[in-house]
Symmetry: C3
Subunit: 154 residues, 3 copies
């Protein structure tokens, strides 16, 4: 592989890592528009039996599930990225902390799990085309997502 | 952007990521000199209402707050770095574990939060010029910092 | 340092980071062959008083210790890598979560600690030649490893 190709591979990996972190931080910033913009227009997000298709449905999810928390923190680690031209798959680990009341910092609902992601290079840079979250464990208070409007439970 | 400029960007980001980790590991190694050396001479660190200015005050902080713990572990994740020439801003997530007695590994005071950092390129490489820690949540035993000498509470 | 040498340094660091993550994910995938393959043929792994030498003994360890867990999650963070030609040392942080029953997600044994690693460049890429895990803390249910066959306790 040429030096240029090897440099490009590092740049692609760095951009996809930044994409995974932008996804996490948009949730913690409660910026649902920025969150949806980490996906392609036809992106899909799967969580706890719900399948959300397209940016509008994807943005509606955390607006429904996370607004009741004063504060969340999505630790994102173990980024493993496999490039394949203009697509890539990525895996990452989540430790998510959810505080109903920021003034009660010892009260939180924690979950751990993994994201399995497909990514696509677009005119706007790398985007998530498909993300599936598997929740593996919990700690502290219970975390659950809201029922989706009927149309989004497929 | 030229290949050289893109390579330089990756190198700068890698060095700043290493700086954030050096900050964390110096705390866990109880090497307050190494900790202070991650800051510029005129660096500022803000934590829980205290504002520490300059390397001497910055080194005195963990010497006061962490010496009573046999062991600490500062997990540092979610490094988001925005370069701007010879300065950069960086955000990271902290999961901090504090053990009063290493022989009692189930007894610890945990905190989660975020660091917001400003960095500057110096003759000694990238350094932290300003770091503010926001503590978001806690678990287990209580963690608190010591009162600072009057002069350092501003 | 030439641009080529600086690029090579970034590539080596990226490969070693991927190696640390492959180690973690092989454990969580219960792929003991893939786990052993992250080590050199003569690799050594030290954990809780056991010293496992060579890929066969190294693979036997998690087969003995982790099979009783339905699910594990090895968060791997704080990767600090020091290259020295065809060898490197690396340090990383572990948050390990162990679930006896995936259907009881609130029941788990957690541990925190650090890996100190020596790495070697081989014909198959970077491999771990020596890894020592220090366990620093625990939470939730107790985690312990099984007694090794006599030959592997040295």
């Amino acid at each position: 592989m040429s030096a240029d190709a090897r440099l490009q591979r590092l740049l692609d990996e760095a951009e996809i890592r930044d994409l995974l972190l932008a996804f996490a931080h948009a949730l913690d910033d409660k910026d649902w528009g920025a969150y949806a913009a980490t996906f392609t227009e036809d992106g899909v997000f799967e969580i706890l039996g719900q399948r959300r298709v397209g940016r509008a449905e994807i943005a509606a999810g955390p607006a429904r599930d996370l607004t009741r928390f004063d504060r969340t923190q999505h630790f994102s680690t173990n980024h493993v990225i496999a490039l394949d031209g203009d697509t890539a798959s990525a895996r990452s680990y989540l430790l998510g902390v959810h505080l109903p009341d920021a003034g009660q910092p010892a009260q939180h609902a924690d979950v751990g799990g993994t994201y399995r992601c497909e990514c696509r290079r677009t005119d706007e840079g790398w985007k998530l085309s498909h993300v599936a979250l598997e929740v593996w464990w919990s700690a502290g208070a219970e975390f659950a997502i809201e029922d989706a409007p009927a149309a989004t439970t497929r």
